[in-house]
Each structure stands twice: as C-alpha cells, then as structure tokens.
Symmetry: C2
Subunit: 395 residues, 2 copies
Amino acid sequence: MRERNLAVVLEQVVRCQPVTRARLAEHTGFTKTTVSNLLAVLEGAGLVQDGALVQGGERGRPGIAVSVNGDGAAALGLEINVDYLAACVLDLGRRTRYHQLVTFDNRGRPPESVIASLGRLAAEAVAAAAGQGLNVAGAMVAVPGLLDRENGLVRRAPNLGWTDVPVSTLLRDALPDLPIPAAHDNEANLAALAELWFGDGARHGGFIHVSGEIGIGAGIVMDGQVLRGTHGFAGELGHLIVEPGGAPCTCGGRGCLEQSAGQDAILRAAGLPAVTATTAAKPDGPIKALIALLERSDPRALAALDGAGRALGATLASAVNLVDPGAIVLGGIFSPLAPWIRPAVEAALAEGGGSLRTEVPPVVASELAGNAAVLGAAGVVIERVIGHPALLLPS
Amino acid sequence: MRERNLAVVLEQVVRCQPVTRARLAEHTGFTKTTVSNLLAVLEGAGLVQDGALVQGGERGRPGIAVSVNGDGAAALGLEINVDYLAACVLDLGRRTRYHQLVTFDNRGRPPESVIASLGRLAAEAVAAAAGQGLNVAGAMVAVPGLLDRENGLVRRAPNLGWTDVPVSTLLRDALPDLPIPAAHDNEANLAALAELWFGDGARHGGFIHVSGEIGIGAGIVMDGQVLRGTHGFAGELGHLIVEPGGAPCTCGGRGCLEQSAGQDAILRAAGLPAVTATTAAKPDGPIKALIALLERSDPRALAALDGAGRALGATLASAVNLVDPGAIVLGGIFSPLAPWIRPAVEAALAEGGGSLRTEVPPVVASELAGNAAVLGAAGVVIERVIGHPALLLPS
DNA sequence: CATATTAGTAAACTGTATGGATTAAATAGC
DNA sequence: GCTATTTAATCCATACAGTTTACTAATATG
C-alpha cells in the first residue's frame, strides 16, 4: 500500500524533475500532507532531495523544489556482445556517470571466462560509482540470444556459441549484496527500451526498434513495455522471409531478411570483405569502411544499401500492419547508415504498409547507436528502483 | 484501496468458482477476516452467493462454498456486421442467458438507422435479462472497422460504408443508466478475446486469432490483453504482402493476403460465385456451398483451400517471428474450413516460422466461429465488472 | 467422549491516508 | 511600512482498512 504510493510519488518526481510538494499533491491526487510524509521516507532512503526555492504562481510562499537525488542510488548496466564487453553506471537522474567498453573477441570463449571478465568490469564500475558517492542498487546484463528469463539462463546465443548458460546466477556470485539482484535480458529488447527512455522513442508512443548487428533483431515497444511474446522470442525480424526460395539462412529457412539486409550481406553486396573473427574484434571497423565508400558515392555501396533498405522496408511493412507502431527506429549499424538506407526503407514501407490507415509511420535513426543495449540495461534497473522504491528503504 | 481488494477477491472467486473463504484467504494472501468482510460487500452488491457446505480436507469443519451469483449482474454484448446484427447477454458465470441474431443487409444503410435497430435489439435483450432476474451492468459493441476509441467513434468501416460515426454516443442514448456505459471495440479484437475467455485460447498463453470474414483481420492476445498498436490498428494481417506485385487490393497495395485467402478469393478459386449484396445477406451461405464441394473432394475447391492456406501460413510465419504467439487460432470462416485449410497453413508455417526457436506454434480451429465477436463484447463487460466491482456497489 | 483439525467470526490493534487548522513566506494594495 | 491575500508546507485528530489474537462452530479420529 504505502509501497505503491511511494512509487507513485517517486515516479512523478522523476517525470517532473524539479517539483514542489504542492504540484506533486495535485498530480498524484494525494493530499499535501501525504506527499510530505512519503517524500520524507524517500529522502531518508536517499532517493530524492530538497533543492532551492521555486516560485510557482505570481505570489504566495514559494515551494521547495524536490528533485531526484543524483548522488544516491545508481544502476549498473552491462553488455555481453560478440566482440566487446561493456558497463555503464547511471544515476537516478538518468545521467551517465561511468562508461566503459572493452573490446574482446568472445566467440568460443568459455562462458565462465567471459562472465568472469564481465564481473571484473562490473566490480570496477561499482567501485567507480562508489567513488562518486553512488550506491549501485542493481544490475542488468544485455545478452544477444534467446533467453529463458524465468530460470535465469541464456538458452542459445548462436553468435557467442553459448547454450544454457546461467548468466544471472553466475553474475550474482560476482556481484553479491545488491538490493536488486542481477538479471539479464535480450540485447534487442534492451536497446528498444533505451530508445524509449533515453532517445526520443517516447514521442512516438509505441515503436519498433530495429537492431542491426550481425543479425537483425527488433524490439517492439507498446504502452511503455517490450512485447516479449509467449516464450520471449518476439521481434525476430531478421527471419521474416523477403525472398521466397532465396538464399538459405542459418535458421534453416530461405530468403530471410538477414540474408538481404544483415551486416554480412550488405558488406558483400558493397564489395567489402565479410566480417571474420579478427575484423569483428574492431567494433564498427567494417561499417566505417562502408561509410567511407558511401561518402565517396561508390555506386556499388549505394546499390547495396538501396537493396538492403528495400528488403528491410518490405519486411517492416508487414510489421507495421501487424503491430501498428508509431515509428520505426533504426538502431545498431542501421543508425550510422541511416542517411543511405532510409530512403529505400521509406519507399518500400510506403508501398506495403498501406492497409486502411492513411499514413505510414516515420522512419528515424536512433541517436544511441551502439550504446543502446547497455543504457537500456541500466534503464531497466532505474525503472525497477522507481517502481519499487521500498526495496531501497533502510530496514 | 478497498476497491482493488474487492476486485482481487472477486477475481479469485470467478477463477475457482466454488471456493471456501479459507481457500480464498490462502490464494489472495488476505486474512480470513478480511476475505469475509470483502465477501460481505460483494454479496451485498449481488455479485457472489453462498452455497452448500464443502468438505475440503479430511476432517474439520466444512467450509461454505462461495460462488459467483449467476442471477445478479449481467453483460450485454452487441455486434454490428455487414449482414447481421447480434446481441447476447452473459451472466457473471459466463453462461449465455440470451442470444439473438437478426440478418440485415447493413451496407449503405444510414448509421443512425442501423444503430436504432441495434438499440431495439439491445432493449429486447435487457428486457429478457430482467425477466430472468438479471441486471445488465454494461454493454459493448463489436464493429468491423478502424476505431477511435478515445473519442468513441468509428473512424472507417469500409464494408459498412461508414465514416466517423459516434457509435458509443448514439448507443448510450438508446441504453441510458447503465453503471458501465456502452462502448465499442473492433470485431477482430473482441473475437480474439472471446477465444481467450470462452474458447481454449487461455491454454496457449498468448495467441493470434485470425478472423476470416470478407476481409482478414487478426487479434493478437499477449499476457491476457489485446495488442492494439499506437493508433489501435494492429492486427491488419489481411494486408501483409504475400505475392509482391500481385493482384491489386482495396488498400492500394498489391498482392495482399486478402487477395489470396480472403473469402472472395477462395470462392473464386473454387469456382463459386463471389459474394454479392444479396447472397451476403445469408450468413455462411457461400461457405456452406464451399464446404459441400470440399466434402465431395472437389479438386478445384481443395486446390483453392490449399492455395489460401499456403498464403495464410506464409503470412502467419511473419507474424510468428514478430510476435511469438503460443498458438494460431483459426476463426471466422477459417473455423469451419479448418479441416481443409489447416494442413497447408501448417506446412507453410513450418517453412517460414523457423527462426531460432525449435517449434512452430500449433494451429487450432476456434470453436466459437461466428459468435466470437458478440461473446467477446459481453466478455469485456464481464471483465470490467470483475475488475471494478465497486462500480456496482449500492451507493 | 475427548482430542485434533479445519472454517469462520468478533474485538482489539496497527499502520496509512485524510481533513481541517496552523505556521511560513512571499506579493499587492493602501 | 503596514495589512490583506495568496500559496506552501506542516501538525494533530480522525477515519478507514486490514491484521492479530482469541474464540466459537462443525466435523473426523481414536
């Protein structure tokens, strides 16, 4: 009961940043007394802070600005990817307080070893946070692959070569005593949530965030939540069929989008060498090369992106008809490539996304690009703290 | 606060039908005293009822069976369709207490006139309910078309020829004084919810309910809720493209699923006359003829269904990859045609729905067929009563 | 028939939000 | 420069809702 009301008030504080108690009372529907009491509890937990005086109306006593305590609790976001590990710490004000990315070729490395490295990275992050007066409240790991979140394992991460790895459990051992224990989620889902919280995804209502990496995933955000599906496998945009009977795909099908618009396919079509284990270790190395070609208006590269964009757009047209997003956000490698790929995507989308609605959703490039997943991971922890502030109360 | 707890208890009563107070206390986490108090309130509102004694364990005092009062509140479901109007009344135990279907060719009739007819049908239903001791708590109308639920209007219902009709408002005038005022929702969405509540959709977790009518729609149910999309247009399965550059569609695109697996397309491929305004007035007339052909193993009809099934399956494969449903439910005309269309659907689905998951969701036929939408409409009202029992409290 | 066991109720208790009165701090007008 | 007015925040008594504890009711076991 009180727990819920604490969350309501804290949520409102987060949304309106510097607010007076009087405004909070109006917005939440509680009485001013109740707001004061709840804020006292939150302040005791180090979650909010009184600030300067604020003059609301024309006259009358000025209110005290209440805002989120940027130096109280913090959230740790982690990411395991094919060619790097990353960590970041965000405070409750959603500012980045620490960020670290270590390139690493994780393919084939034993999961325990990878997670040990990640644990070290996490420990450094926690220490760095502590140095800034921040207490890490919880952690979340982004992983590329299919997850079983209930049992806390990574079911299959084909690009890492993992099967049934209990990431959360292993990480909990490395990071004991967090009020919110470490958990994990899919990279594409977290990247989409990052767009919602840190990009301008919120402006569009629901949206589809397309994560272009070696594979192509999508995070579908509706009503502020990720659409997970019955088994948690929703958003497999990369395996929609664009070319029936086309090139065989790793999934066993033929003509999957990934074969037309995946990173390898684009590079190949542009006449660049496909990614190998060694080049993969340099993040966006091959993409940089591609962009260089595009900036020189290399015809082959331009055609490659046009083709990929048309395939992506046609696939997204299906997604638009099924899910009715307010926008399409191009993330991952599609974010830096947006200037060249977007026109084709929009054209193909306009052709197929018709249906009965009048307009097709706008296609925008994510500003977060490669950092989306880590930020999203930290964001989930922040949301959890805001949704359950009671977890951080001094008992 | 109390409102919420009343809902929790009532929900539990509905789920476990005859339960003792002790069991309710266990399931809800409340104390026995609290459960007793809340039940007293619910009983006062005529929502629940004490029944016979029930012997739970081996010995000890037997408990009093509490169950939903079947003769208290009731829900009115209504449906406007191209060739009929329908009404049904369900009690809180989800039993059908009244059902009426009137064939009517509603195409081109002025909306006011259609709604006046519907209002009469609704008034009859309310009277019939009253005759059985039931108080209608609220009403919901199923409409085929794109809706603006916030403003209570039907934006476009192409098959009816309607634009911007304030259905809810008009119906509220016809049915005043309901504790839960009349509202409307999309036919496909309500049919899907009916499958969840009255069919066996609940067994599958999330699912996609395909409503085959003149057009093809889909209701996507996840976590017990319909996926509506940003503008409420989600589920437009009929306008996914199966055959790039194929036959032009009413939506402006080419090669939409509707052109391959819609009712008209199937009938045409089977060598039957397409639906006209006059034949349409007889519900499932043309489908009956088609089934007769199929039962005689007419090769053209069989081929027609095979082709439609392949197209449908290929489209559903996209939907499966995007949304990860636990099952595909064939509703509307696909329900009676399931024996002939399902094999092709499953085959196409198995080809394209691969992705990284191991198995494709099962394809099942809905048992509700044509009644799904009305039932779903009434079901929404029931859910609302259960979720907000306070609305029916004697003030 | 006593005892163990389960179901339900009654009375006192506790935590939480509300309501009205009170104090505090600023502006506007005379 | 004073008072009146407006707005902000707090204090205290009250009401509400669910818990705790104790008790009664109804059945089976030995």
